[in-house]
């Protein structure tokens, strides 16, 4: 059953159309990856789904609700959160304050949720009073994900979670993504690191030039010769 669906999306920046009618679907409990070469429109797609960019055409449905054209601050209330690729933390705030900001729209007691986030990311608990600007890249990425999880979203959007991370940390971050997914959050990832992402994804979409090129299970895409040659570097 689909929890998130984007149909026939056309979007871009100003006059320049980047997406020429893209569709994707994320089912409950799935991890779905969007991969493709630079300039394929992956980041544009995720920004459009989250309402940062407005589609000129198409429909976005989150859990049976039409969210097309809504602003991000409304979309978080509908249960979808987003981790941008860069500048995804508040550097002068402490780890715990970053998590509190993730829960800004909650008026109830969210301390229990902070504890759960620390269970997923035990490293953060020791650093809770440190300013995020002073943390390493991996820890900072965990803060960014923790912040986005504070609202206990139905769907989590991750824009290149492994970008600018050292190779040994990439694996750790992806393990965390699987762990978060197992707790019941559907995840949509945009990723350059295509092989790693497809390995853990239930399904994947390959975009090129702003259009859908392939769609299959993660494993099938990894074993697809044409995909391998064109998009996974042989």
């Amino acid at each position: 059953m689909a929890i998130l669906e984007a149909n026939n999306i056309k979007a871009g920046y100003g006059e320049t159309e980047i997406l020429h009618g893209v569709y994707i679907k994320v089912n409950k409990g799935e991890i779905v990856s969007i991969i493709g070469p630079n300039g394929a429109g992956k980041s544009t797609l995720i920004k459009t789904i989250f309402g940062i960019l407005k589609p000129t055409k198409g429909k976005i449905i989150l859990d049976d609700q039409d969210i097309t054209g809504l602003n991000p601050d409304k979309i978080v209330r509908e249960g979808m959160c987003y981790v941008p690729q860069t500048e995804n933390v508040f550097p002068s705030l402490t780890v715990e304050e970053n998590l509190e900001m993730g829960a800004f729209i909650r008026n109830d007691d969210y301390r229990g949720r902070i504890k759960e986030i620390y269970e997923i990311f035990p490293d953060l608990k020791q650093k809770r009073r440190q300013r995020v600007g002073k943390l390493s890249g991996g820890q900072s990425q965990m803060v960014a994900m923790g912040r986005a999880l504070m609202l206990d979203p139905k769907v989590l959007l991750l824009d290149e979670p492994s970008a600018s991370l050292a190779p040994n940390l990439v694996e750790m971050i992806f393990e965390k993504i699987v762990e978060i997914n197992k707790s019941g959050v559907a995840i949509l990832i945009v990723e350059q690191n295509a092989r790693v992402a497809l390995k853990l994804s239930d399904r994947g979409y390959i975009l090129a030039m702003g259009r859908n090129r392939f769609e299959d299970t993660g494993e099938a895409l990894l074993n697809n010769e044409e995909v391998g040659k064109l998009y996974l570097g042989g």
């Binding site: 508040f90 705030l93 900001m101 609202l151």
Partner: protein, 308 residues
């Protein structure tokens, strides 16, 4: 040599004057710093907002006198109960005025870029100054005329009013610190000042944060303006213009957008302006702020406490 010894002997007294003037500058500088970082532009009208606060207080004092409210001074201070009312009314009216200016002017220009906002704020500054001058005229307007006798503490002269000025500044700075560090809205304000785009996608209502920023900035500015009036006994429409340079110097000195840096910057500017008078003519006071500003920009362009 003898002259140097005499100059140095004045320094303890001048340090006290510096702290008084630094306290007033702090209230202006903190507000300017907050709006600078969160609204992303240099607000040249901030000095005149301080003047506006001072004149709203004057209007309230005049009105209360007309109503016949007793102005018997508190203890050895120069003013009484009406001043408390004047503070409250001036803070409210200044904040409301600034929010109205934001809604009809800055809000519409926010997407166009910081230079256009800056130029617009110069226009606001000139308008405010001229409206004030139109209503009250260019001559000094007195809060009170009673001359206060300074007390001598350890050979240093200080008036009871001045002790109160320092006390009010310390109290407000402390309250602001508690607000920024420990309340949800204060934390969201710091988050927005770090990264407004991220604050928005996190679900923080950034428009509300902008209003809070104006309210806090203009309330502190109004109090600062009134304290100038209490220190000098009178105010003029030029008050804001005269404060603008030292306030900007303080903000840049402390690292733009860092309210704690702005407090330190304001103290440094206040102290150096006053201490300079032991060695050079008082007329050069504004130049001292300028020289410090230039030196800091040359050697530490991000300010003494700027750059994370």
């Amino acid at each position: 040599m003898e002259q140097l010894v005499e100059s140095i002997s004045k320094i303890p007294q001048l340090i006290v004057y510096g702290i008084i003037s630094g306290s007033i500058l702090t209230l202006g500088a903190v507000g300017l710093s907050l709006t600078y970082k969160i609204l992303n532009f240099a607000n040249f009208a901030h000095g005149d907002v301080m003047a506006l606060g001072a004149f709203f207080a004057l209007a309230s004092l005049t009105f209360l006198r007309w109503l016949g409210v007793s102005a018997t001074p508190f203890g050895s201070l120069s003013f009484g109960f009406p001043m408390i009312i004047a503070f409250i009314i001036a803070i409210l009216l200044t904040a409301v005025t600034v929010i109205i200016i934001d809604r009809i002017l800055y809000k519409k220009l926010r997407k166009t870029g910081r230079i256009i906002l800056l130029v617009a704020s110069v226009g606001v500054a000139l308008s405010l100054r001229n409206i004030i001058q139109f209503i009250w005229g260019p001559d000094p307007q007195y809060y009170f005329k009673k001359i206060q006798i300074a007390k001598k503490i350890l050979g240093i002269r200080i008036k009871p009013d001045e002790i109160l000025i320092i006390g009010i500044a310390v109290l407000l700075v402390l309250l602001l610190h508690l607000f920024l560090q420990y309340t949800k809205m204060g934390k969201a304000m710091r988050a927005t000042s770090d990264n407004m785009e991220l604050a928005r996608v996190t679900g923080i209502d950034t428009d509300k944060i902008i209003i809070w920023t104006w309210v806090i900035g203009s309330a502190l500015a109004a109090v600062g303006g009134i304290l100038v009036g209490i220190e000098n006994k009178f105010i003029t429409p030029e008050l804001g213009w005269q404060l603008l340079l030292p306030i900007f110097a303080a903000v840049i000195l402390g690292g733009i957008g860092n309210p704690y840096g702005a407090m330190a910057g304001a103290m440094i500017i206040g102290l150096s302006e006053e201490i300079s008078t032991a060695f050079i003519s008082t007329a050069y006071k504004p130049a001292v702020a300028f020289i410090i500003l230039v030196i800091v920009l040359l050697f530490k362009p991000k300010g003494l406490f700027g750059g994370k």
